[in-house]
């Protein structure tokens, strides 16, 4: 990541994004004031366990939240467009055109009633005044690009005739039809086999590099994050508890939660076979009602009284984290601060 | 709140009826629109047995003789005169110059062919009773025929002026009953221009109608539609798309009459008699069969308040009847034992018969569910528990013929034949429908039926009727009436024989 890029105006700037879901039993604070920037060509991975609010964050950027979810932010700026204030029409011209999205389930994210070709062509013709033939040509080109052989003949096929891996390639091709500047991929490989996962990920990485597209990749898999991300955001209970360049976050995880997560997974070479794995006791707290202090304190081994109060932002940009302990209690775990 | 809702809805409905005026009848098109309740299976009058069929028959065809429905005087129609030349032979002189609707000229051949066809049982005329008294007919000359009866049959004149109508020989031989049903051809005052089986008939005035005692038709066109639901009929009447409905139930007729001059409601008695038939002969599988006991049969007779039923349910011209025949019929003497309403006595008789707590019996009916229900309620009140079964006519008849009907409410209309034989002889002569099988009654009825001497007939019918009443074989109930409702545009005076006569209808 060059210094130049770091200083340039970010493509996407998020400040204080908050998502509230009114429920019968109170307001669910699903996302609680998160900040991040994304520059052109950069890949940001947001990692977190289920219920941490990472998928909602992606939908919030796309403006595709359910009607009952309240969205607010100080800044939600995409290349100068204020996404909060944008009209429906403005959002429509952005979606699929400059911001594309890839969803988790390749089996269900394509419309079963239409051919691959129809759906690819639609993605382009919604935003570009091109003929059907031109659009089909572009579709064939992109299908080949995502590694689908005999692309022209695939256009007439229906989604159900393709395997999961192929469908996800089609979804990626569809996302690329309008040459977007930002791709949001929400767990794009979770539903796939490990072998296919690697293929799809490398495809995504290659294509974003080649086309200089920024990407937000949402996942729960730390392995994926480590291999793909330029920047990492660790999300817990609706807050980004640690952000920073991938190498730093994995090399020197500052937040106790980040470290806890890394200890939980068996790592060949690091974890001894058959040895006890690290655990994070307890479960994610309820986010219904007022959430005070650090949400991780109920599970944190380093909890102190101050965790109930205001949590300071620690670290130095670009590597920052939220913790009352100045070193994120790294020292307490016997690791170099 | 519900009550209020009900009230407003009910009021709205009532008002909707009351405030809606009556559209003008279709007088402008000279078309009278009539509703039938039942589908007519076949317009050929020998192949249907319904009242609607009789109406069609009187309009489309002519009989040899005609009985004036008011004076009961026999007049010549297709025959101009007739004479018994022996006990079993009637010679008739025919009217000349009559043509059928299809242009064929009427002659003795038509009479011979018609009679010889319908009199043969295997040709399957629906109501055999109407025709099976005839042996054959023979031509004397072009305008004279002789009709031979099987037995001595004094009611022949009555039958010839009723159900026996004359068909065009050539045409009938060609098309048969079903062809006649679809495209009827007769000599009558109206010719049929359209038949949609079971649904719709259109009649047109026969401009060349001969000088018949029926009178000349006045209304040019008659459209008859089958509308099964009485409400729908009344609705159509309200909306002005019907001009005449008949067989309107008493309650509705009363309400329509109360609507002032919007409609003309007339009521006439009919020959239909309602009665309870009991399995006195013990043919049914009921065991023990209480109806074999005269005391039980008498109890049934005493249990029912006929007057209350007549006054409240049938109304109009209906009367309590004590005989298995209609009082105006020849030979139908009303001077027989009567059983006035006396539930205490009924209970007493039941106790005497060995049923102090009453008994249970199936109770069948095929029409007038409310009358049957009222009767059953009276029977229940004295301890005769009825298991009510409403069957279709044909199904009940089938059961009847098998003899498996212990107790039933039935009716008989005598085909408007004004002779006691048309009813009492139908049911008490050991036929399959006879549930009494009294040899004495059979003997007397045979004498009466086969005599040409009115006094003898009267005497023996009276004997039979008296015995039937004494033995309480039946519990005769009441005679029926018919309500006719017309728009004020239509001038029509109904007759007591429940036949619509289009020739007597006029526009006001």
């Amino acid at each position: 990541m060059s210094q130049l890029q770091e200083n340039a105006k970010p493509l996407l700037s998020v400040r204080g994004l908050t998502l509230d879901i009114p429920l019968a039993s109170g307001t669910l604070h699903a996302v609680r004031g998160i900040d991040f920037d994304l520059h052109k060509g950069e890949t940001l991975c947001i990692v977190g366990e289920s219920g941490s609010g990472k998928s909602l964050t992606s939908l919030a950027i796309m403006g595709l939240l359910e009607k009952n979810i309240r969205r607010s932010a100080q800044t939600l700026d995409f290349d100068g467009v204020d996404l909060i204030g944008a009209s429906k029409r403005q959002m429509r011209t952005l979606r699929g055109n400059r911001i594309a999205m890839i969803f988790q389930e390749p089996m269900t994210s394509l419309n079963p009633a239409y051919t691959i070709g129809d759906q690819l062509v639609e993605a382009l013709r919604l935003h570009r005044k091109v003929s059907n033939e031109e659009a089909r040509a572009r579709a064939v080109e992109l299908l080949e690009k995502v590694g689908i052989t005999a692309a022209a003949s695939r256009l007439g096929q229906y989604p159900h005739q393709l395997s999961g891996g192929l469908r996800q390639r089609v979804v990626i091709a569809m996302a690329l039809m309008c040459e977007p500047e930002l791709i949001i991929a929400d767990e794009p490989t979770t539903a796939l086999d490990v072998t296919i996962q690697a293929q799809i990920l490398s495809l995504l990485v290659d294509l974003t590099k080649e086309m200089d597209v920024a990407m937000i990749l949402i996942t729960h898999d730390l392995g994926v994050v480590a291999r793909v991300a330029d920047k990492v955001g660790v999300m817990y209970a609706g807050a980004l508890v640690e952000t920073g360049p991938a190498s730093e976050v994995f090399g020197a995880p500052m937040h106790p939660y980040t470290r806890g997560l890394l200890h939980c997974i068996p790592q060949p070479g690091k974890t001894k076979r058959g040895e006890k794995l690290g655990t994070i006791p307890g479960i994610v707290p309820s986010l219904i009602g007022e959430v005070q202090g650090c949400a991780f304190r109920t599970r944190c081994p380093h909890v102190v009284e101050a965790c109930r109060g205001e949590i300071p932002e620690r670290g130095t940009p670009p590597h920052e984290f939220l913790c009352v302990h100045a070193d994120g209690a790294r020292a307490a775990e016997g690791e170099p601060a | 709140m519900k009550a209020a809702y009900l009230k407003t809805t009910a009021l709205a409905l009532a008002m909707s009826v009351a405030t809606s005026g009556v559209a003008l009848a279709d007088k402008a098109n000279d078309t009278l629109r009539v509703a039938y309740t039942k589908e007519l299976e076949n317009v050929d009058s020998y192949f249907n047995s319904s009242r609607e069929g009789v109406v069609m028959q009187r309009a489309v065809w002519d009989g040899l003789i005609y009985r004036d429905p008011i004076t009961n005087e026999y007049k010549g129609n297709l025959a101009t005169s007739w004479e018994w030349i022996d006990d079993k032979t009637l010679e008739l002189t025919l009217r000349e110059g009559v043509t059928f609707h299809n242009g064929d000229a009427f002659s003795a051949d038509d009479v011979v062919a018609t009679v010889n066809f319908v009199a043969k049982e295997e040709n399957g005329a629906k109501t055999q009773r109407n025709v099976n008294w005839m042996e054959s007919a023979e031509k004397v000359d072009d305008f004279t025929v002789r009709i031979k009866t099987k037995e001595v049959f004094p009611a022949a004149i009555e039958f010839l002026s009723g159900p026996v109508s004359i068909y065009p020989a050539e045409y009938y031989a060609e098309v048969g009953p079903s062809g006649m049903g679809l495209a009827p051809v007769g000599t009558g005052p109206y010719k049929v221009v359209e038949v949609v089986p079971g649904q719709k008939f259109v009649l047109e005035k026969n401009e060349n109608y001969h000088d018949s005692p029926k009178g000349q038709p006045s209304i040019g066109r008659i459209e008859i539609r089958t509308i099964p639901d009485v409400n729908t009929q009344i609705a159509e009447l309200f909306s002005g798309s019907l001009d005449l409905i008949w067989q309107v139930p008493a309650d509705q007729a009363e309400k329509l009459a109360a609507m002032g001059d919007q409609f003309v409601v007339s009521n006439e008695s009919t020959m239909r008699v309602g009665y309870l038939s009991m399995d006195a002969a013990g043919r049914s599988s009921m065991d023990p069969n209480p109806f074999q006991d005269i005391k039980v049969r008498q109890a049934v007779n005493y249990a029912i308040d006929r007057n209350a039923i007549v006054d409240n349910l049938l109304k109009g011209e209906s009367k309590v009847v004590w005989t298995p025949c209609f009082p105006s019929q020849f030979g139908c003497d009303q001077n027989v034992t009567t059983y006035p309403y006396d539930p205490a006595k009924a209970k007493e008789l039941l106790a005497e018969a060995g049923y102090p707590n009453g008994f249970e019996t199936p109770f069948y009916a095929y029409r007038d569910r409310d009358y049957a229900e009222a009767i059953s309620s009276y029977l229940n009140a004295v301890g005769i528990k009825t298991d009510f079964k409403m069957l279709q006519y044909s199904a009940l008849r089938e059961l009847n013929m098998k003899g498996d009907v212990p107790l039933s409410f039935q009716t008989w209309g005598s085909y408007s034949i004004n002779d006691a034989s048309a009813m009492v002889s139908q049911f008490f002569k050991h036929g399959s429908l006879d549930s009494t099988r009294d040899d004495q009654v059979l003997e007397w009825l045979d004498v009466a039926d086969q005599s040409n001497v009115p006094e003898t007939r009267l005497e023996y019918y009276t004997k039979a009727l008296t015995r039937i009443a004494d033995e309480a074989y039946w519990a005769p109930m009441f005679s029926y009436n018919t309500n006719y409702v017309t728009s004020p545009e239509v001038d029509y005076t109904p007759t007591a024989d429940e036949v619509l006569r289009f020739t007597t209808m006029r526009w006001n």
């Binding site: 269900t108 394509l110 159900h160 | 299976e41 509308i227 409400n231 089938e398």
Partner: protein
């Protein structure tokens, strides 16, 4: 496609065969057709003769076989009551019933599908509640009662429509509404449920993420998929409606096949009843078959393997 159609047809034929056999056996138990045929004054011998003449004395299976053989050639025998060939009798009446059925299902679809769609787009809105009330009320409203009320209101009070009969298209309006209203609730509910499910599906999110407008999302992407089960249901309802038009036809004095069926039951006119049961079930079978074919065409997953 062809093997699918053939297989489906075979199944349909088997169903029709079974239905006809069941109804034949039912009616066979119903009593003596000979007695009904013989008429008023027939004696026991006459009935016996008729029984032999018509072959009623043979075993049921033989009679059924013969009936089936004749029926396959389009000959359903002669009506006991009208003494006319049953086939032509029914053919006369069927047009009314078919017209009514087609109008009824069209009315039901034209009201139920838009209502269902709107209700699904805005669940718990006023329109959703109205639609739900209409459907619940529709299910609870006896059709004879509804018909009578319409007659009073539109036939007598307002005089907008003729109360009964079948001579003009206006005559069909009220029966259509009554019959259609019978099928509407189920179709509306299914459309609503289907739309709700489809609108929550991933591919709708994908379509939105592509930048498709709401109209396009609803009609091109959602409705196409939500309508597939509705097609089947409409076919089933159409079949039910033809069989269920008895009440409506009797209220509105429409001389259709349903009314004929009722009257024929009343008259013990067995050949007619038997033929009508078969024809009504054939209609059901044909409609569901057509719906399956249409579904296979609408749903590519069924079209190809």
């Amino acid at each position: 496609m062809l093997p699918f159609i053939l297989k489906r047809l075979g199944l349909a034929a088997l169903v029709a065969f079974t239905v006809s056999f069941i109804s034949f056996s039912l009616l066979f138990l119903s009593g003596d057709p000979a007695a009904a045929l013989a008429g008023e004054t027939a004696s026991g011998e006459d009935i016996e003769a008729i029984r032999r003449l018509y072959g009623f004395d043979r075993p049921m299976l033989v009679q059924y076989g013969e009936w089936l053989f004749q029926a396959l050639r389009g000959d359903f025998g002669e009506s006991y009551y009208f003494k006319l060939p049953v086939a032509s009798l029914i053919a006369d009446r069927l047009s009314v019933t078919m017209t009514l059925g087609v109008c009824g299902i069209t009315f039901a679809l034209l009201t139920a599908v838009p209502l269902g769609v709107v209700a699904a787009i805005r669940p718990n809105s006023i329109i959703d509640r109205i639609a739900l009330f209409l459907s619940v009320a529709g299910q609870a409203m006896p059709s004879f009662w509804f018909g009578l009320i319409l007659i009073v209101l539109f036939g007598i009070k307002l005089r907008w429509l003729p109360p009964s009969g079948a001579s003009t298209w206006q005559h069909f309006i009220m029966p259509t509404i009554v019959l259609g209203y019978y099928a509407m609730p189920a179709i509306m509910r299914l459309t609503r449920a289907g739309m709700l499910e489809v609108l929550n599906s991933d591919y709708i999110r994908t379509a939105r993420a592509k930048g498709a407008g709401e109209g396009r999302v609803l009609f091109k992407h959602a409705l196409r998929n939500a309508i597939i089960p509705v097609v089947s249901l409409a076919a089933v309802q159409m079949g039910f409606m033809l069989g269920g038009s008895i009440v409506v036809e009797s209220v509105f004095a429409l001389h259709g096949a349903g009314y004929l069926a009722w009257e024929s039951i009343a008259r013990n006119d067995l050949p007619t009843v038997q033929a009508l049961i078969l024809i009504f079930s054939m209609f059901y079978i044909i409609f569901t078959f057509l719906a399956d074919v249409l579904n296979a065409w609408l749903d590519p997953r069924m079209r190809s393997s």
